[in-house]
Every structure is written in structure tokens, then in C-alpha cells.
Symmetry: C2
DNA sequence: GGCATTACTGTCAATATGACGACAAAGGAG
DNA sequence: CTCCTTTGTCGTCATATTGACAGTAATGCC
């Protein structure tokens, strides 16, 4: 039982909804292994750094977004012996949700970073480096299921948003259509989901919509259930 | 950025329901640090071992149970710089659920292992070693919430069980009482939750109860919701 | 047989959901 | 300004699910 030493990294699945599409932030690898392939942003955990701090640091380095407006949670760890040809590396993957930021990705390391549709990257062809395809798939599944029981969709929206904008998030992430009227009833009727600001906006084409901000609930009750899966 | 090397361990929160109590398997530490304190079982990940394999190996070493009858899933990783005074150790915690085994904990390493009520170990006094109190709290919360939407309660039961036994699991884990009639309706009415075996038993005092085994569903729909939290 | 005990079935009201009609409030075309 | 299009919001109704609880069934024990 010699080599008990591992490298530990954090990787980030940073998701956003833009152009009615679920997108993920990826970077082009400039060095082997997997040179030229897309990968999730990430890096080594520093000697005296907590895992979540490392994830926050990487997130800021890669996106330049203020942490205030980001949802960040640990997703899970991936440590197959063969996942990195250079040696034994365990990565602690994190899931980050961002609003569609007007400013394009800025920041030092973010030179090669790019928003890409999740769908493209999960296809059999456009494979991500390492096991990042698996991580991304797990991240998307986590986001999808967590929208059901947590008021998480607001993390994809600016601080103030309309019910319709919130609905678009659900529709894009779940890949389904939702009835605007029932959705409105559900969202405004679930305690702590959203709070009206009193303001309204006319961002869209028709009648101005009232603005809301995220409520203080951490759990939705009752949950906002997706239609039962195809079966099973 | 010198020392990028970490030790990586797996720790196990092994839960079971026995004597109408939620219990966890703990070992008494024989060496510093935290000598004499209770800790979750766990150990180092071997050089060529996957994380889940390491967890399975530790589980068998500590409990001697056949893996067949165990639910095992990754819980999350804990890596605060100060969590282990001996150096930088990241642990990948796992959650295991077992039926109440007739045979007491057997196996090589299991000498000092013991089932203890979760409640006792989460109290401010009887502190666990390292950050294992936090891990245990997270594990219990995961188990509680997962009972809602996954047919996981069966993992606490023997291969064949009665509806009442399944209900006891929910009641003990959630710390609530459930209406037997509504519970019965819900469980038998949710597709894939349980399958009748045709047999019946008279384990209890009164009328014999039909036996069921776990169904093939992986997700309950609709979910079995707990009463809304105290409030929000 | 009578009683205690546990298992199971059925009913009814309250609540939540899906489907969809209808009206409100803006902008734009003419 | 009026009509029309586009969105937002409220209301209604049938159906599904849940909570509360009455009532019947099948044992063991005395």
C-alpha cells in the first residue's frame, strides 16, 4: 500500500440558460492529454484550501462573475484509476448555475473559455476530455431533478425576473413545454418561491409583466414535478 | 503550489433500523488522533482502486455483509485543510443502508465496531472523531430526503417484508407517525414500489400480513412526501 | 366463544393538477 | 384612434392525490 498520494482537483460544470438553450462553460485544452478537446474548467486544490473555496476560486478565475449571483454546490467525486493518464487524480466536481450574463466571459484564465450547448457536448461525437462527459451528464441530471423540489431556477435568472422568464428556465432545462397559466398559479402559490417586487417590466413584446425576486424557501412544497418519465 | 499531494480515504455512514431506532455503525479509535472516540469506519483508497470499490471493500471488511443486500451510494467529499491533524486528507464519504441483520457485525476488522443510535452521536456531547459528525448529519439528511422519492426504504428491510415493516422504516427514519391505511394505499398504489410475493407471514401478533419484495422502480411517482417542514 | 391485536378495504372532504376559456395591457399597422 | 397581435394574469372545471377516519378480516390467547 505504498503510493497513498493523490492529486486532488476541482472541476466545474457551469450551466446557464441563454438563447433558450442550456449551455455549459468549457475550455479548449492546450496541452496533452486530450489536447485540443473541450474540457470542464478546473484546477488543483491548493495546499491549504478547502474544496468549496477551490471551486469558488476556479469559478471566479474562469468566469469573472461575482460569487453573489451564483449557485454553487458539490456534485460528487470521480476517481477511477484510469481517468487521467498522467497519474492518480481524484476530482471533486461542482455544479454552478449562473444567469445569462450580458458581459461575455471575462477574466484572466478565461481566454479560451466558451459557452456551448450541453446537448452538443453530450453527443457521442463531440466527446469531452477525461471523464468530463460523465460529470456533465451527472450535473445536468442533478440540475433537472433539483428544479423539482428547490427554488433553483431563480439561479438562472437575474436578481429580478418575470414568471415567464422563470418558466423558460424550466422549459429549457427540462426540455418540455409548460402551461403558462398553470405555471403561474403554481409559482405564485407556493410559499417562499418568489416575492413580488411591485415593479413591472415590458422586456417582452406584449403586456408588461410583474417582476419578482427569489423567495426565502429552500425547499418547495409541494414540489414542482415533471411529467412522469417516459415510464419507470 | 508545492504539495499537491493528498491522502484520499473513503468513510462510510452505514445505517440500519433496529429496535425501532435508526442506528449507525461506528468504531472506537484505538490510536491518536481522537483516540478513544467513536468514528465512522473507513480507510485509505488503494493505489489502483476506484472510489466505489474502496467503499465496497471497507464495507465488507467492517460488516461482513453480502454486498448483494446493501444499498451503497456516494454521499460527498470532505476536505477542509484542518479536518485531520496528521495532514491533508480528503475523504469521500459514502452512505450505506442495511437491513437489520440477525448476525451481529462479524468480520476481521469489525472487532471494535458497534451499532449506536444516530441520535446519541449527533448530540453536542458524544462527538464523533474528525468531522464525522457533519458527515453523519449529512448522511441522515440524505437518507431522509431520499426516502421521499426513491424506493429506498426496502434497503432497510429483509428481501421479503410486510407493508407494516416498511412503514416502521419510514417512521423511524423520519421520526414521524404515518397512517397505516393511507401508507398501505400509497405503497401498493405506486407502480414499481413493491411486488407481492403471494406469501404471507404472521411475524406480528395479529392477522397475518402479506409479504412483498422491492419493485423495479428507481424513482417513485408520485413521491411520498413528508409533511411540510415545521414551516419555512 | 370472546377479546385483543394487527391487517386490510372503503368513503369522503380538502387539496393539487391539467386543460383551457377569457380578459387585461402593452406595441404596431393602418 | 381602432384593430390586431402578443404576452400576462385570473378563473373554471374535471380529475388525481392526500388526509382523516369508519369498518371488516384473520390471527393468537384466555
Amino acid at each position: 500500500m505504498t503510493s497513498r498520494q493523490f492529486s486532488v482537483t476541482v472541476d466545474l460544470a457551469v450551466l446557464t440558460v441563454a438563447d433558450d438553450t442550456l449551455k455549459v462553460l468549457v475550455v479548449r485544452r492546450g496541452v496533452p492529454p486530450f489536447r485540443g478537446r473541450w474540457a470542464l474548467p478546473g484546477g488543483f486544490v491548493l495546499a491549504r484550501e478547502d474544496l468549496m473555496d477551490a471551486a469558488r476560486r476556479e469559478l471566479v478565475e474562469e468566469t469573472g462573475v461575482p460569487l453573489r449571483s451564483v449557485h454553487l454546490e458539490q456534485l460528487g467525486s470521480y476517481g477511477s484509476p484510469g481517468r487521467d493518464p498522467r497519474g492518480r487524480v481524484v476530482t471533486v466536481a461542482h455544479l454552478a448555475l449562473l444567469p445569462d450574463l450580458p458581459e461575455p466571459v471575462a477574466g484572466s484564465d478565461a481566454a479560451g473559455a466558451e459557452w456551448r450547448p450541453v446537448e452538443d457536448l453530450l453527443s457521442a461525437t463531440r466527446r469531452l476530455a477525461f471523464d468530463h462527459g460523465t460529470i456533465l451528464a451527472d450535473a445536468v441530471e442533478r440540475a433537472r431533478s433539483k428544479l423539482e423540489y428547490a427554488p433553483l431556477a431563480a439561479a438562472f435568472c437575474p436578481p429580478e425576473f418575470t414568471i415567464a422568464e422563470l418558466r423558460r428556465v424550466y422549459e429549457v432545462v427540462w426540455g418540455t413545454e409548460l402551461d403558462p397559466r398553470n405555471f403561474h398559479r403554481k409559482v405564485t402559490g407556493t410559499p417562499g418561491f418568489v416575492e413580488p417586487t411591485g415593479e413591472s417590466t415590458r422586456r417582452g413584446g406584449g403586456r408588461p409583466a410583474r417582476l419578482y425576486r427569489a423567495g426565502d424557501a429552500t425547499l418547495l412544497h409541494p414540489a414542482m414535478l415533471r411529467a412522469p418519465h417516459p415510464v419507470r
